[in-house]
Symmetry: C2
């Protein structure tokens, strides 16, 4: 295992220290329990909190700041953060309007966020993101997994919360966005979790995992390597079958790299996705291409579509300033 690392046990703490130091205008780091909280908390604003295993950067700590999250709780790589992290983050981020937890649908995350929610004394609610249409149940999940669509939920609800909406409105909007968002990914290689030291799974030189999870969970099928156009057609067919967008519905198209795929390939994927969608009469309104929800150095990518309405479109375009996404500021 070759990684920029000193000692395996210090990987998470050193990485998050570096992150917080690089973005000390945006976030404050709390070491014990571990969370990052937005520096410029806004009194009376609903606090948005997410968290998950590390290694998916910029998700979630990279989305703390104006217009997205108020706090993020990093767990060890591929491991849920603990309830005490979430409770401490909630206490630090709450400014009187309550806390909305944005939770990717993994059994461990759900259990820990539910425990935190029960113990929190301020008003709180949760939005569960389960955008991965690949499989119904998986290694760490009952139901569908939460993957890159989480970024879209965090951006849109973050914008609504920034505008002063109350806790119930933020929760309802989050669920609305989650329902209109679907993703599917493919892996060409595994990643190596530092604490494990060996690849999470093995793929042959001519194989890919269609529908892979962001922790390397199995997808729909292990297949022989195909062309970009064939892969895109399979991912988009599954996503469109789920969302069934009308041809005039404005779509947000996100092409997300899993960490080890060059940007040039992600743009090629977007070009292929655009051709596929336009050939079928769909309308692309917004585009996001980049490494947003990664799996360490996994080679691969996912595609996410959201069917936008006017409110979602407005909140997508609104200003945001985080480490991982910034415009208008």
């Amino acid at each position: 295992m070759k990684k920029f690392i000193n000692r395996v046990d210090d990987f998470l703490s050193e990485s998050i220290e570096g992150f917080a130091a690089a973005h000390d205008n945006l976030v404050t780091l709390n070491r014990e329990p571990l969370y990052v909280v937005r520096k410029a908390l806004k009194p009376g604003k609903v606090a948005l909190i997410s968290g998950g295993g590390s290694g998916h950067g910029p998700l979630h700590a990279g989305f703390v700041g104006h217009g997205m999250l108020d706090a993020a709780c990093p767990g060890q790589v591929s491991t849920s953060p603990t309830p005490d992290q979430m409770m401490a983050a909630a206490l630090a981020a709450d400014t009187g309007a309550g806390v909305l937890f944005i939770v990717k649908n993994y059994s461990g995350h759900l259990m820990n966020f539910e425990m935190a929610a029960e113990l929190c004394e301020m008003p709180n609610a949760s939005v569960i993101v389960n955008d991965d249409v690949a499989v119904e149940n998986s290694s760490f999940t009952t139901g569908r997994r939460g993957v890159a669509g989480t970024v879209i939920v965090e951006k849109l609800v973050g914008s609504l919360a920034e505008s002063g909406a109350d806790l119930q409105a933020c929760k309802a909007f989050g669920e609305h966005v989650a329902t209109r968002t679907a993703s599917m990914g493919v892996a060409f290689s595994s990643c190596t979790v530092p604490a494990a030291g060996t690849p999470t799974f093995k793929l042959g030189d001519d194989e890919m995992e269609i529908g892979v999870g962001i922790h390397g969970e199995p997808g729909r099928r292990r297949a022989k390597f195909e062309s970009a156009d064939e892969i895109v057609a399979e991912l988009l067919t599954a996503i469109v079958d789920e969302l069934k967008p009308a041809s005039e519905t404005p779509l947000l198209v996100m092409v997300n790299g899993l960490g080890g795929t060059p940007l040039s390939e992600l743009y090629l994927l977007f070009g292929s996705a655009r051709a596929w969608l336009e050939a079928r009469g769909f309308s692309i309104a917004r585009v996001q291409v980049g490494n947003l929800t990664t799996s360490l150095e996994m080679a691969g990518a996912s595609i996410t579509l959201s069917t936008l309405d006017d409110e979602m479109l407005r909140h997508w375009d609104s200003e945001v300033w985080t480490a991982g996404m910034r415009w208008g500021m």
Copy 2:
């Protein structure tokens, strides 16, 4: 070779088509000869043009837009663009104040940019970037290579040009910035150029290339894998020996991923670099961490320092809107 690709011969054209479609609010694509040009050209502004082999994304096309470049010419992967691309881009981007070519120091690039400069009828000048302190001469270079420091030159000169400075002032400032900028990188793995189909070089499971070039050129030494702190110390020692910053000089620190390294490791590297610099009394003023000048999917990273003066600081902070770097807009 597993890549998101349809046919090897179409890789560059399909990738740049996808890029231009994803950012059609920022750039216009010209297919023959191949270049991207800023959509909102500013009459009377010096046109900044760069280019190079593809596979280093977001460099250079990803830096076309407000506050950086006016046009970029993509060559095939690891191959210089041709003089006719540069001339056509210059004609398209010039709005009367002349053209400044920003050229990474590779023999092929220099030759082609010089040829274009001679044939261009509008006033033009060039800035050569040679920030890589690793080696004096290399596979494709006489003198030092131009690497990630190019991003800093493009940002700072881009800001000055945006403010209305003339061609000679932009050239002089570009050379000033280039002189105050130094970089060095390390690779843990090779990349695979699509047209070659096999890795550019081989590294053992416990080896790294210290001082690697962004095309996989040999560096200072092939070494046994070391800790992040040891690697950072070697890179920063070389860079600081070159720049010899005074302790009060504000530094811009850029930690650049080469494409296949997780963001969490890049932040760990920044934390390590910060500790090394602060222990020696240096002052960090600005930080940039991310994949800015990549080598396809190469695992590895580089560190760049710039010694800032007030003018450089102001131009770093000024607004920018490109695919690869955006703030204030």
